[in-house]
């Protein structure tokens, strides 16, 4: 949960218009975001003839849209979730087009983020422990912003190590250091 809170803080600092509008519109703006996103994605599923149920929610100050259903949805998730990240970006743009406000909406498809979050937390913790044992920093493989955030949180839960991101997208990666 600290992942979403940190993301919220970061955006409040960098996106003054978004946060001001959010303060005014509050919950109702987030509900509207979810509705626009839901319509956009539902029509996509219809056109492709994919089975899927769309669930709308508001969590930690952002709209959350989840699609669950048939095997076809794997095609939307794509390799390493790249399709999902891209579809989330397009959905945010569609929401912004309709509301005039930048969106931080989170999209999940076929439970991919939920599953990845568990795996990546475990990877973050085990990497942190290896750094503690060997006293050598470890550069992890390139990850998406979502993946890096989960790993940073997991590393932060281990005493004696810290992590930073380095490199440029799409090769940006987490490096875990021993805290001296």
């Amino acid at each position: 949960m600290s992942e979403t809170l940190q993301a919220a803080d970061a955006d409040v600092r960098t996106d003054a218009t978004g946060s001001a509008a959010e303060a005014e519109g509050g919950e109702s703006l987030l509900v509207r975001e979810g509705d626009v996103a839901g319509d956009y994605l539902e029509r996509l599923l219809d056109l492709l003839d994919y089975d899927g149920d769309i669930d709308l929610d508001v969590e930690a100050g952002r709209a959350v849209v989840s699609i669950d259903g048939g095997e076809d949805l794997e095609k939307l998730v794509g390799r390493r979730g790249e399709g999902l990240e891209s579809l989330q970006e397009l959905t945010r743009l569609a929401v912004q087009q309709a509301t005039g406000v930048r969106s931080r909406l989170m999209l999940d498809v076929a439970g991919w983020r939920a599953k990845r979050r568990e795996e990546l937390s475990e990877l973050g913790r085990s990497t942190a422990e290896k750094v503690l044992e060997t006293e050598k920093s470890i550069r992890m493989r390139p990850m998406t912003p979502f993946e890096r955030k989960v790993v940073h949180d997991a590393v932060a839960s281990v005493t004696g190590v810290h992590s930073e991101s380095e490199g440029e997208e799409p090769n940006r990666r987490v490096v875990v250091f021993r805290t001296s």
């Binding site: 029509r43 056109l47 939307l76 579809l87 397009l90 743009l93 569609a94």
Partner: protein, 79 residues
């Protein structure tokens, strides 16, 4: 019209100022399949995005749906 073209047309319509001007055509040649995206000239920047980000997102989503080798070209109508 193919469902791939319909899907891409819908994705693009949602993110532009002039949705009625969006047209997507699926072109099949011996070298493969290409989805050609036509938009209002004022919307070109929106469809391409900063550093080509939005066009890349459209390509990534469409290749997941339509398989590898499916190209997406945004046509510059100004030329």
């Amino acid at each position: 019209m193919s469902e791939l073209a319909d899907a891409l047309e819908h994705l693009v319509r949602g993110i532009v100022e002039n949705p009625d001007d969006v047209r997507v055509q699926l072109i099949t040649t011996r070298r493969g399949r290409t989805l050609e995206v036509h938009v209002h000239p004022d919307d070109l920047g929106k469809v391409i995005g900063r550093g080509g980000r939005t066009a890349t997102a459209l390509r990534t989503v469409m290749s997941g749906i339509g398989g590898r080798g499916l190209r997406v070209d945004v046509i510059d109508t100004d030329r």
